[in-house]
C-alpha cells in the first residue's frame, strides 16, 4: 500500500474520506461513517431512473482515463433489452507506476461495494464483479471480508435492502498484462479468454460481458457514487472543475515524497506536484510524465495546466492511470520516451497490425535516436507512423502509445536534435554514435 499524501486544508475528501481508519473492512465503522446510505436512498427514494438522473446532474465522469459520462453508460445499459446485465468494477490498476485503485480499495472497500451495488440496482444487474490484480492480496482480502459482512447484514445479496432485487458481488482476481486495464480486454479476461480488445461500438454498455449489457467503471468512479447520493448531486458538482466535477486519485512520484493523493479535478499540475514536495537537492524539474506508460511527457513550462480530461489531451497527455511522475534534469527525454514506448509495445496484446508492429516500429525509431543510428527522415517517419497508428487503431492502447514519442517531439525538439544532429545526449544518459562533421 502506497503512502497517502495529505491534502491541503480545505480540499474536499470524497474517495479517501476513511483514510486512516483502523479497520477499513469493519462494517460497523463503515456504517457509522455513512456507508450504504447512498444505496438506501437509491432503493427507497430515487429508484433506478431517479438514480441515473441524480448521477447525470452530478456530472460524474469515468475515472478510468477516458472520462466518459457515467450516467449515459448506465442509461445505455439499462435501456438495452437483455436477459441479464453485469456491473464490472475495474480495480485492476494496470500501471505499475500507479497504485491509486489499490489504495482506494484497501482504504474503503465498502465505498466500492456500495457503488457496485447502486450501479447493479440501477441498471438491473444481478451480478457485479470487482476485478483486482491477483497480486494485490490485501485488497482482495479486504473486499472479501467486506462483501461477506455486507451480505450478512443484507445490504447486498438475495434481497438487497429489501428491494426485492438480487445483487451479488464477487471479487475476481485477474492476472495478466498491462492491457487488462482496457475495458473490453478486462471483460475477455473475466470470461477466461485471452485478453484482447474488441472493436467498439458496440460498447460494453450495450454488448459486453458474455454479450450482455455491462457497465464497466473504474473503482474510483463507483466509489464516488455513494457520496453523490448521500450528499446530493449539487454538492458534488460544486467540487472541482465545471465539466469534470469531483476528485480523483493521483499517484505522485519523483519528488521528495511519493504517494497517492486525492485531488479535485481541475487542479493545476503545479499544485499536484507540490503535494510531493520539491525536486531532489540541487536538481530542477525537467519533465512530467502524465498518464502512466502511455502518457505524455510535458515540459515544466506547462505546469499551470489544469488536471482535467480535456486540458491534458490538449497538451498531449491524458489522465490515464492517474500517475504523475516528475523527472529532474538527470533524465534524458529521448531515453524516457523510448523506454515508455517499448514498454507499450511489449505489453501489446498483439491483435492488430498497427499495435503489434506499428508501436514496435515507433519504439525502434526511438531506439535509433537514442543509439545515434537514425535513418534519414526518421522524424518525419515518426510523425507519419504515429498518425497512421492512431488512425487505424482498434483500442486506446495503440492510440495512446504514440504519446510519449509525439510529446517529446513536440516539447523537447532541442534535446532530440542534439541526439540526431550532434550525436550527443545533453543529459548524458544515451550513448549515441557520434557521426562525422557533415552529419
Amino acid at each position: 500500500m502506497s503512502a497517502i499524501l495529505p491534502s491541503p486544508r480545505g480540499w474536499p475528501s470524497i474517495l479517501l474520506a476513511r483514510a486512516g481508519a483502523a479497520k477499513p473492512a469493519d462494517l460497523d465503522d463503515a456504517v457509522k461513517a455513512g456507508a450504504f446510505e447512498g444505496l438506501r436512498r437509491a432503493v427507497r427514494e430515487l429508484g433506478p431512473d431517479g438514480t441515473i438522473a441524480e448521477i447525470k446532474t452530478s456530472g460524474l465522469r469515468g475515472r478510468g482515463g477516458a472520462g466518459h459520462l457515467t450516467a449515459s453508460k448506465w442509461q445505455a445499459a439499462a435501456e438495452t433489452p437483455a436477459k441479464s446485465r453485469y456491473v464490472v468494477a475495474n480495480g485492476y490498476g494496470a500501471d505499475p507506476s500507479a497504485s491509486t485503485d489499490r489504495t482506494l480499495i484497501e482504504t474503503d472497500p465498502y465505498a466500492v461495494i456500495e457503488g457496485v451495488a447502486i450501479a447493479a440496482f440501477t441498471i438491473g444487474a444481478e451480478t457485479g464483479y470487482v476485478s483486482v490484480r491477483s497480486t494485490a492480496t490485501s485488497a482482495i482480502r479486504g473486499l472479501e471480508v467486506a462483501i461477506e459482512a455486507a451480505t450478512a447484514r443484507n445490504f447486498i445479496g438475495e434481497d438487497a435492502l429489501g428491494s426485492g432485487r438480487r445483487v451479488e458481488i464477487e471479487v475476481r482476481p485477474v492476472q495478466g498484462a498491462y492491457m487488462l486495464g482496457e475495458e473490453t480486454v478486462l471483460l475477455k479476461a473475466l470470461d477466461g479468454k485471452r485478453g484482447q480488445p474488441e472493436q467498439r461500438p458496440p460498447h460494453p454498455a450495450t454488448r459486453g460481458f458474455r454479450n450482455a449489457p455491462t457497465v464497466v467503471q473504474n473503482v474510483q468512479t463507483l466509489a464516488s457514487v455513494p457520496w453523490i447520493l448521500r450528499n446530493k448531486a449539487k454538492a458534488f458538482k460544486a467540487i472541482g472543475f465545471g465539466e469534470a466535477p469531483g476528485t480523483i486519485l493521483i499517484d505522485i512520484r519523483g519528488h521528495e515524497r511519493s504517494g497517492v493523493a486525492e485531488v479535485p479535478l481541475g487542479t493545476p499540475l503545479e499544485e499536484i506536484l507540490a503535494l510531493g514536495g520539491k525536486p531532489a537537492k540541487g536538481r530542477s524539474l525537467k519533465a512530467l510524465v502524465v498518464g502512466g506508460p502511455t502518457g505524455g511527457i510535458l515540459p515544466a513550462s506547462l505546469l499551470a495546466t489544469p488536471y482535467t480530461f480535456e486540458d491534458l489531451r490538449g497538451v498531449g497527455a491524458h489522465v490515464g492511470s492517474g500517475s504523475v511522475i516528475a523527472a529532474d534534469d538527470r533524465a534524458c527525454v529521448v531515453d524516457l520516451a523510448r523506454l515508455l514506448t517499448r514498454f507499450a509495445a511489449d505489453e501489446a496484446c498483439g491483435k492488430t497490425i498497427p499495435c503489434r508492429i506499428g508501436v514496435r516500429r515507433i519504439a525502434e525509431i526511438g531506439e535509433r535516436l537514442s543509439a545515434g543510428t537514425s535513418r534519414g527522415g526518421d522524424v518525419q517517419l515518426l510523425e507519419d507512423l504515429c498518425a497512421d497508428v492512431v488512425g487505424s487503431a482498434l483500442c486506446d492502447h495503440e492510440r495512446l502509445a504514440t504519446l510519449p514519442m509525439l510529446s517529446s517531439l513536440r516539447y523537447f525538439r532541442d534535446e532530440l536534435d542534439a541526439h540526431l544532429l550532434r550525436g550527443e545526449c545533453p543529459a548524458g544518459v544515451c550513448r549515441p554514435i557520434r557521426l562525422g562533421a557533415t552529419a
Binding site: D346, A348, G350, T352, I353, D388, V390, G391, S392
Partner: protein, 939 residues
C-alpha cells in the same frame, strides 16, 4: 452459415455453393502449366472439401437410392435449418446507406462490409472470415464514416440508415498502405523469386534447384522443360539475368543457376546417349489433333515453338534454310561455347523424338513461299527466321573489302573452317554484344596477331560484360567508351586502321544506360588490317512479296506480329522470336517461341485468339516485387564455381573450356538455394493487396553500397527487427510456415468456432505475438482433425495443404480390419458405417484399452487392474455385449462372470476371430452397393 439461413433453399444455386475460382486458378490447370508456380497443392486447395458438400443427405441407416432426387425442403438438415430461429429473417427492415456517393440498400444489422460486398463494392480484408463475425485485427477494412473521429472498421460496424461511407479516400488508402507496409516489415518470406521473375522465360528456378539438390536430375530437367526445352544449350549460352537478382547474393554469392541446369541437362543427354532413355517431357503428350503446323527457322525460337506444339499433339515440320538445324545456335555461337554435336544436336533430338520433322536447305522466299506452305496443308505457319542482316555503321570507308560482317565471319568460323587470311592479321572488332565477343575470341583462336574490341559505352553497360574478363585473359585488348569515326584505307582500299573518338557518358537513355556522347578532339586511330562489325542485326524481310503477302514490316524493320497472340497480318501465320523483337538473347527467343506455341495451339484448336490474351497476361508472372524484409542468414557458403581451362590452353582450340561440375558439387551448389518461393502465390491476399496498394517495386533496386549487382532489398520505411520462425512440416496434411503468418487469427477462429478443435490461438505477447499451437507443438499433438479448414482460410501461405498428388483413395477390403478409425476421424463423413455393421467385440466408444482410465492411474497395481477389468465387464454386461469367457480374469466376482457368460448366447469359444471374418463378408457383400459406404472415395 448466415448465408444459408437467411435465404430460402431455392435461392442457393450451385454456383454460390462452390464459388467460381478466379481466372488464374483455371489457368493453373492448363496442361502446359502456364502458372507462376505449379504443383499438386494448387489443385488440392481447390479440391478441399467444402462444408456444404459434406452435409449428410440422409442417416446411414436409411439408405436412399442414388437416382432419387430428394427435395431440399424435405431433407432433415433443411428442416433443422428452417425451424431454428434465423439470425436475420427476410422481414428485417431494409436500410439505405451511401457508399462512395452511391446509394445502396442493405438489411438492418448487416455490417458495412456485408452491404458493400453484396453491392459489389470491394473493401480489402485480411482477417475477415465470412463464416464468422468481424474480428478487427488487420485494420484493412477501415472506412470513413461521415461525422466520426476515428475511421471504423467495416467488418464489425453495423450499418445505420442514412450513413455516409467513403471506402477509397486518400487517407483511408494511406492507412491501409501503412498497415501493409508494417506487415511486410515483419514478413520474413518471399512470394515470387526474383530470379524466376527476371528470367525472360520465367523458369521455376527454386523448383529445379530443389530437385537438383536431391539429385533428381531428370525431374529437375522436367521442371526446366516446362518453360525451356533446352537446359544444356541454355546452360552454356544464357547470360543468366536470373543470377543478377539472386537473393543468396544478400548472404554471400548468387547461386550458379545456369551451371546447375546445365549439369542436369547434361545428365539427361548422357542417359539418352548411354541408355537410350527418352528425355523427360514436362507435360503429358496430348493426343494427336491431326493439325499440321510449319515452323520456319530452326533457331531457338522456332524449335521452342515446335517443341510445345508437338507436346500439344500437333504435327510439326520445321524448315531450315541452312544445311543443318540450329540457326544462330549453330552458326552464330562458336564451338568452344556450345559444342554442336554433343550438346546442340543432342538437345534437338528431344524435338525429333517427339515426332518433329526438320527439313533443311529450305529457305523462305528462296525455296518456298507462305502460299506454298498453306497449299501443302499446313494449318498454321510460325515464322521464326531470326535476325541475320547486320547493321552498318554509316561511316566513311565502311565499304572496304576488309570490313567484314561479323556474323558472316562467325558462320564460317563456327563451321570449323579457318576464315581466309585471318592468321596473323590485326583485327578490330566493333560492338559490345555476344557477337562481338564471339568474333574476338574466335579471332584469337584463328591466330589473329592482335585483336582489339572497341565498345562505345562503359564495360558495365555491355550486354556481354560477364564474358569480357575471359576474352581479356585469352589475349583480347578491350577499349571502352570509344566510337568509330571512319575506317582508314589506303589508295587500294586496304584497311590500315580505324579512327575512333572518345565517348563521354551523358544522361541515361530509355534502357537506363548512360548515353554515349562524342568528346571532340579526342580522336585516335587503331592500326589494323581487318574490321569485324558486330553492332547488332535486323531480320531479313525481303521474302515479303508475291506468294508471301500479308505479313508486314514495322517501322524498325521487324516483322509485325502481336506481342501476345503473335498474329501477323495473314490468318494462320504467326511471327515470333528475333524476327519480331530484333536481335535478343537465346533465352528471350525461347520465351517468345514458347508463348507463340500457346497462341498457335489455341488457333489450331479453333479457340478465339482474343481470349488467350487475358489468359496469357494472367499466366505470366507480374513484374512486381513486394517490399518484404531483407534476407538475413548466418551461414555463409560461397558459390561453387566451374573451373575453366587455362587461357593459354583454350585460346587456340575449340574445345569447350569450362570443366563441368562433379555430382557432389552440383548437389552442394543447388542446396545453397534459399527457395525464395511461396506455394500460396496466386492465392495470397497479402500479395494481391500489396500489389494493389503499391507497396511493390516494379524492378529491383540497384544495390547502392557496392555499385554492382541488383538486390531485392528495397525501401520499406519500417524495416526493423523481424521474426524468423521455423517451418513445421510434421503434420501429414498441413504445412505450417509461421514466418508467413500475419497474425490475422482466422485459423484460430475457424478452428475454434467452426471445427471445435481449437488447435491455434494467439500466443505470447507484444511484438512476438504469433498465432500458433500451444507451446508451438506439432499439429499432431493437438486435437487437429486434419480437416484443412485452417489452410483454406489462411489469407497467406502460412498454412498450406501439403502437396499431395492423390485424387482419390481406395480401400483394399481384403486388408481392412474394420477398425473404424477412418470413419471416426473423417471430418466430412466421407466414410460411414454400413447397415449391418456393428458386431465387433468392442466399439469405438468403448475401447478395449481404456486409455482415459489408464491415464488416471499413476501406477498400475494389481488392484487397479482388477478393478478396471471388473468395471469394464460390468459395462459390457449392461450394454449387452458379447464377452469372451476365456479372456476374463479368474479373480473377478463370480456373479459378474456368470452374467457375462449368460449373454454369450452360445456364440462362445473363438469369438474374436469369427467376428472379424463374418463381419467382413457381410459388410462387403450387402452394404457396398446400397449406399457406397465401404467404397471409400476421399477427394
Amino acid at each position: 452459415m448466415t448465408d444459408l439461413i437467411e435465404r430460402p433453399p431455392s435461392e442457393v444455386t450451385p454456383a454460390e455453393v462452390t464459388p467460381a475460382e478466379p481466372g488464374d486458378r483455371t489457368v493453373a490447370e492448363h496442361p502446359m502449366g502456364l502458372s507462376e508456380t505449379t504443383g499438386p497443392n494448387r489443385q488440392e486447395r481447390a479440391n478441399l472439401p467444402r462444408r456444404l458438400d459434406a452435409r449428410p443427405e440422409s442417416r446411414p441407416d436409411q439408405p436412399i437410392k442414388r437416382d432419387t432426387i430428394v427435395p431440399m425442403e424435405d431433407s432433415q438438415a433443411e428442416r433443422l435449418l428452417t425451424t431454428q430461429s434465423p439470425q436475420r429473417p427476410q422481414s428485417t427492415p431494409r436500410i439505405r446507406i451511401e457508399v462512395d456517393g452511391r446509394v445502396v440498400e442493405g438489411l438492418e444489422g448487416q455490417t458495412i462490409l456485408e452491404v458493400c460486398r453484396d453491392n459489389g463494392i470491394e473493401i480489402p480484408t485480411l482477417c475477415y472470415e465470412p463464416k464468422l463475425p468481424g474480428f478487427g485485427a488487420c485494420r484493412m477494412c477501415v472506412v470513413e464514416v461521415e461525422g466520426e473521429e476515428h475511421p471504423p472498421i467495416s467488418c464489425s460496424r453495423a450499418c445505420e440508415d442514412g450513413m455516409k461511407v467513403q471506402t477509397q479516400t486518400e487517407d483511408i488508402r494511406r492507412l491501409r498502405r501503412t498497415n501493409l507496409e508494417l506487415i511486410f516489415s515483419d514478413h520474413n518470406a518471399y512470394c515470387l523469386p526474383p530470379c524466376q521473375n527476371k528470367c525472360p522465360s520465367h523458369i521455376d528456378i527454386p523448383g529445379f534447384l530443389k530437385q537438383n539438390a536431391e539429385g533428381n536430375f531428370r525431374e529437375s530437367t522436367r521442371i526446366f522443360k516446362r518453360t525451356i526445352p533446352f537446359p544444356s544449350v541454355l546452360g552454356r549460352v544464357c547470360p543468366a539475368p536470373c543470377e543478377d537478382h539472386c537473393r543468396r547474393d544478400e548472404v554471400d554469392e548468387a547461386i550458379a543457376i545456369r551451371d546447375s541446369h546445365r549439369y542436369a541437362g547434361d545428365m539427361v543427354i548422357k542417359s539418352m546417349l548411354d541408355e537410350n532413355l527418352d528425355p523427360p517431357i514436362p507435360f503429358d503428350h496430348q493426343p494427336a489433333t491431326g493439325r499440321r503446323a510449319a515452323v520456319i527457322g530452326s533457331g531457338p525460337a522456332g524449335m521452342a515453338a515446335a517443341y510445345y506444339l508437338l507436346l500439344s499433339g500437333h504435327d510439326v515440320t520445321v524448315f531450315e534454310r541452312d544445311p543443318a538445324p540450329g540457326g544462330m545456335l549453330r552458326y552464330g555461337i562458336p564451338q568452344y561455347r556450345l559444342p554442336k554435336v554433343e550438346v546442340l544436336e543432342a538437345e534437338y533430338e528431344s524435338v525429333t523424338r517427339l515426332g518433329g520433322k526438320i527439313v533443311c536447305n529450305q529457305g523462305l522466299g528462296t525455296d518456298f513461299t507462305l502460299d506454298d506452305l498453306q497449299y501443302q496443308g499446313f494449318d498454321a505457319v510460325v515464322i521464326a527466321i531470326g535476325c541475320y542482316d547486320t547493321n552498318t555503321l554509316g561511316i566513311p570507308g565502311e565499304d572496304a573489302p576488309e570490313v567484314l560482317d561479323g556474323l558472316e565471319y562467325l558462320r564460317t568460323a563456327t563451321l570449323g573452317l579457318p576464315y581466309p587470311n585471318h592468321k596473323g592479321k590485326r583485327v578490330v572488332v566493333i560492338g559490345g554484344g555476344f557477337t562481338s565477343m564471339d568474333c574476338s575470341r574466335t579471332s584469337i583462336r584463328q591466330g589473329a596477331k592482335e585483336v582489339t574490341l572497341v565498345y562505345r559505352r562503359d564495360m558495365k553497360d555491355m550486354p556481354a560484360s560477364n564474358e569480357v574478363h575471359e576474352a581479356i585473359e585469352e589475349g583480347v585488348t578491350a577499349i571502352f567508351q570509344a566510337g568509330p569515326v571512319r575506317v582508314v584505307t589506303d589508295k587500294d582500299s586496304n584497311v590500315t586502321g580505324v579512327e575512333f573518338i572518345r565517348m563521354a557518358l551523358g544522361a541515361p537513355d530509355a534502357s537506363g544506360r548512360r548515353r554515349p556522347e562524342p568528346a571532340p578532339g579526342t580522336e585516335f586511330t587503331i592500326p589494323c588490317d581487318r574490321v569485324l562489325l558486330a553492332i547488332g542485326q535486323g531480320p531479313e524481310l525481303d521474302w515479303i512479296g508475291p506468294g508471301s503477302t500479308g505479313p508486314k514490316a514495322t517501322k524498325n524493320k521487324r516483322l509485325q506480329a502481336d506481342a501476345v497472340t503473335f498474329e501477323t497480318g495473314r490468318p494462320g501465320v504467326f511471327g515470333t522470336g528475333d524476327v519480331r523483337v530484333g536481335a535478343a538473347t537465346v533465352v528471350q527467343a525461347i520465351a517468345e517461341g514458347r508463348r507463340a506455341a500457346y497462341a498457335v495451339d489455341a488457333f489450331l484448336r479453333g479457340n478465339d485468339l482474343s481470349t488467350i490474351r487475358a489468359r496469357q497476361t494472367l499466366a505470366e508472372p507480374q513484374p512486381e516485387f513486394l517490399s518484404i524484409v531483407p534476407f538475413t542468414a548466418e551461414v555463409k557458403e560461397p558459390r561453387y564455381r566451374m573451373k575453366a581451362m587455362e587461357a593459354e590452353e583454350r585460346n587456340h582450340n575449340y574445345v569447350e573450356y569450362e570443366i563441368p561440375y562433379s555430382r557432389e558439387e552440383i548437389v552442394a551448389e543447388s542446396t545453397r538455394c534459399l527457395q525464395c518461393t511461396c506455394e500460396a502465390i496466386g492465392y495470397c491476399d497479402l500479395r494481391r493487396l500489396g500489389i494493389e496498394y503499391g507497396t511493390t517495386l516494379t524492378t529491383l533496386e540497384p544495390n547502392p553500397h557496392d555499385g554492382a549487382g541488383l538486390r531485392s532489398v528495397n525501401e520499406n520505411r519500417f524495416t526493423g527487427i523481424n521474426h524468423d520462425y521455423v517451418r513445421d512440416d510434421s503434420h501429414a496434411f498441413i504445412l505450417r510456415e509461421p514466418s508467413r503468418c500475419i497474425d490475422c487469427g482466422r485459423c484460430a477462429q475457424v478452428c475454434a468456432e467452426v471445427v471445435g478443435a481449437a488447435c491455434y490461438d494467439f500466443m505470447r505477447i507484444g511484438f512476438d505475438t504469433l498465432v500458433t499451437t500451444p507451446l508451438d507443438m506439432s499439429l499432431n499433438d493437438t486435437p487437429c482433425v486434419s480437416c484443412g479448414r485452417c489452410a483454406e482460410t489462411c489469407p497467406t501461405g502460412a498454412l498450406m495443404p501439403k502437396p499431395r498428388v492423390l485424387q482419390k483413395y481406395e480401400v483394399d477390403e481384403s486388408r481392412c480390419i474394420l477398425c473404424g478409425i477412418c470413419v471416426d476421424a473423417c471430418p466430412y463423413d466421407a466414410l460411414r458405417d454400413g447397415g449391418e455393421f456393428e458386431l465387433a467385440h468392442s466399439s469405438r466408444e468403448e475401447p478395449m484399452i481404456d486409455l482415459m482410465a489408464m491415464a488416471q492411474v499413476d501406477r498400475e497395481t494389481e488392484v487397479t487392474y482388477i478393478r478396471k477389468e471388473r468395471d469394464w465387464l460390468q459395462r459390457a454386461i449392461d450394454a449387452g455385449r458379447y464377452v469372451q469367457s476365456d479372456r476374463l480374469l479368474t479373480v473377478l466376482p463370480a456373479n459378474l462372470t456368470r452374467a457375462a457368460l449368460g449373454n454369450g448366447n452360445g456364440n462362445g469359444g473363438n469369438g474374436a476371430n469369427g467376428n472379424g471374418t463374418g463381419h467382413g463378408h457381410e459388410h462387403g457383400g450387402s452394404s457396398g452397393e446400397s449406399h457406397g459406404g465401404s467404397h471409400a472415395h476421399l477427394k
